[in-house]
Symmetry: C2
Subunit: 298 residues, 2 copies
Amino acid sequence: MVPKARSDVLGGLLAPYAQAVEADLAQWLVEPDVPAALAEAMRYCVLGGGKRLRPALVSMSAGAVGGDAGCELARRSAVAVELVHAYSLVHDDLPAMDDDVLRRGRPTVHVQFGQAMAILAGDALLTRAFGVLAESDEALAAALARELSAAAGPAGMIAGQVADMDLCPVPGGLEGLRYIHARKTAALIRGACRMGALCGRAERKALEAISTFGHSLGLAFQLADDLLDVTATAEDLGKTAGKDASHGKRTHAALIGLEASGRLGQELTASAIAALDGLGPAADDLRTLAKLLADRTR
Amino acid sequence: MVPKARSDVLGGLLAPYAQAVEADLAQWLVEPDVPAALAEAMRYCVLGGGKRLRPALVSMSAGAVGGDAGCELARRSAVAVELVHAYSLVHDDLPAMDDDVLRRGRPTVHVQFGQAMAILAGDALLTRAFGVLAESDEALAAALARELSAAAGPAGMIAGQVADMDLCPVPGGLEGLRYIHARKTAALIRGACRMGALCGRAERKALEAISTFGHSLGLAFQLADDLLDVTATAEDLGKTAGKDASHGKRTHAALIGLEASGRLGQELTASAIAALDGLGPAADDLRTLAKLLADRTR
């Protein structure tokens, strides 16, 4: 393992993006007239910390293509992507899904508020994500909603969850693992990058570069997550460790071992960074982020 | 009870709208690359019949304000609203929610496909609803998504479900019942009407008239639903009858009795129809629909 200091550097890189999105989340999450108990559950889902990786990817990608990372649409996109990510965790943790009781060092939403509230709060976050985008007056809002729906929808993230839960046939070996990770994790990460690039008014080639980056980064990220599930403690992770093995989930660690998995992760990270070759120094934050994510310890 | 023939007249009025939306649902529901098992579950959720009331309200409302009821945005709105309605039923029927096993005369989605698939298929329908809207190139798409998110979100339909599940405090008596029904049922019905009126490029006054109509119609509809739960058979309803009483739910029937409930329903229907006074004969289908819904037997 690399020293903990690496995770602190990662935290330092993400901090300003995280601060910006916290403020926007607090502002846009809860509309007037939401029942207090529901608003409390929604805030618990969303405001409990987390790296805020996806919002940072939106902003960094907008900047990487020469756009304004702080424009209203990029901020709305960052919030929308984080709301979708948060809802997916809440529903994923439900007893009928991964049945997990610990997330970010706290009881999961259904443990804290009951299953009915967890289902409804997740639904509310997903509905609100599209509302936050649609409340923009800019013409691009529909294109962003299209990206988000495709990334998070039944051909994207939800396909990955269906496959991960063994609810549909998946090829064996690395191919199947790639199928699941590309959808369950990389689809929304790639979507965040693409939404950022669209907000930055990227030309076709830059958008494609950012897409490829996001896809490879998402695969590398999920691979690192799998390895951390084996090597890290619950205290480090803020969630149950070793749960993939105990749930009989396919993982790279189980399939090809830790060492080969580590090499594959480095290859995916290198692919991600290589995709940015045409973008120059504006993409430096994305490059640094990709390197730090590959080496994170939590 | 009124004779069954009334329900057949209602069916006849809705049939052409239902046929149109069936075709659009089949076309837009499932994108390429959706896992077959997920696509099957989504189709089961959506294509199992039902009155298709909300899509009809979108079309009729577009026509009532002098717009083109068959324009692409109205068709997309009709599909989106029906997808949201379908997802809400799937999640509502889950064991942690209303725990129901029968819907439209068939096993509920979680009985047929398991709870994990029911959660994910519901999530997929909701995500897809906003995708179908966003796939339009017209500028109005964002305004429609804003309406849908507000109607179906945490200050709308989900607030009603939270209240209906006793997850937040609600006033006693008729006031509390009105609070729940306005959100749980009337919010999406009103939203469908408003989306139709927006597609029909309604002026402010016409949009307000349609909003008021939708709100009153939604309340009348839920009241009739409550009464049918007491008076009709499971065969008529296609879902479990008498379940409100067995679940200890607040209903008009329990609170003020069948007779007074019937009168209140007639008043709400009259309010709905009165709201359309400024709209002339273009709104005749909405008027007829309101009358027939009040008298339906299933």
